[in-house]
């Protein structure tokens, strides 16, 4: 009976370690996808760049849109910033507004917040 809490704690520790490793892997995946998107932008292949960004967004969420990892909000804000700019250049104004709104929600720096505000105002006018 006394051994149960220790085993339970061990199980919890293993689970926590597993989540931590999984989170790191997910963050690496996000970085790779962002890099791929940037390369596609360099080649002016904006559709492809957007598909990588969408994949990067989905790395951190399960099918029920539940956030799986605690990847930092500033990375998410940058993902939405890129998505907003890509959607704008592809002429998808409505979706771009949604992306910039998300960017504003996750933005940590004043500069990014201001940029999101400028884009939102520009697109709504």
């Amino acid at each position: 009976m006394k051994k149960f809490p220790i085993r339970f704690l061990g199980l919890l520790a293993a689970l926590f370690l597993n989540i931590a490793i999984a989170g790191e892997t997910n963050n690496d995946d996000v970085n790779i996808l962002i890099n791929k998107s940037i390369m596609a932008i360099q080649n002016k292949d904006y559709e492809k760049a957007l598909s990588f960004i969408n994949q990067a967004k989905n790395v951190n969420y399960d099918n029920n849109n539940y956030r799986l990892t605690n990847s930092d909000d500033s990375t998410l804000a940058e993902i939405y910033q890129m998505e907003g700019q890509l959607l704008e250049i592809l002429g998808k104004k409505g979706e771009a507004i949604s992306a910039w709104y998300n960017c504003l929600n996750y933005a940590k720096t004043d500069a990014l917040k201001k940029e999101a505000e400028v884009h939102l105002k520009h697109l709504r006018d």
Partner: protein, 227 residues
Amino acid sequence: MRRVLAFIFLFFLYSCADKPVVKPDFDFTSIETIVIYPTPDFRSFAGSGTIINKSIVYQLMKMGINIVERETTPALIKEASLSQTGITQSEFDVKITSSNFVLLCTLTEFKDHQVIVVPIRTRNRGSSVTTVETINEPIITKDKIGNEIVHYETTTTETTTTQKGSLTERESVEYISSRVGMTVQLIDVANGDVLWTNTYWYTSISLTNAVHECVYGALKPLEQLLN
């Protein structure tokens, strides 16, 4: 409820945004022709002024305004082909001076996009501790009854800490968007009054798009006054 909050947020956003400054009580609908003066290049970005000027001409013409471009038209007048239209240099000069309204633009920012490779070094500050314990010879003692008692004296002799830090290196690619900023002024040549002024900036993945959207955003409030 969410819609109401979104509306309040957007209203707040709109009210906080920079707005153009307009000279009150001036009839902007009387403006028919605007002379566009050359825009100086932004720092060392050669040709940036010309790029902005062409975009301004495009936007104003879309608004239905008659445009005279101060930068290129005189050079065109000198071309022999234009003599066929019957316009002479002196007539052109009159045309420019008879237009009372001049649009001046100053570039505040003009940056093309950049891709930067940032090296990221992660240092793992791990360490291992080695403790060497020495067990002495057994000590045998006897109690009052005469039974032998064996006990060992344990002493810690040495503790060594070894740094096992490792350095992991990887690269991250960062994309810095194109950014264009400008200040525009509409001036009444007759008295030198600034009738309207606005400042605007915009970012985009492509410089062309940033220029187009920045000029559009800067001149859109003027369109509402002119029409």
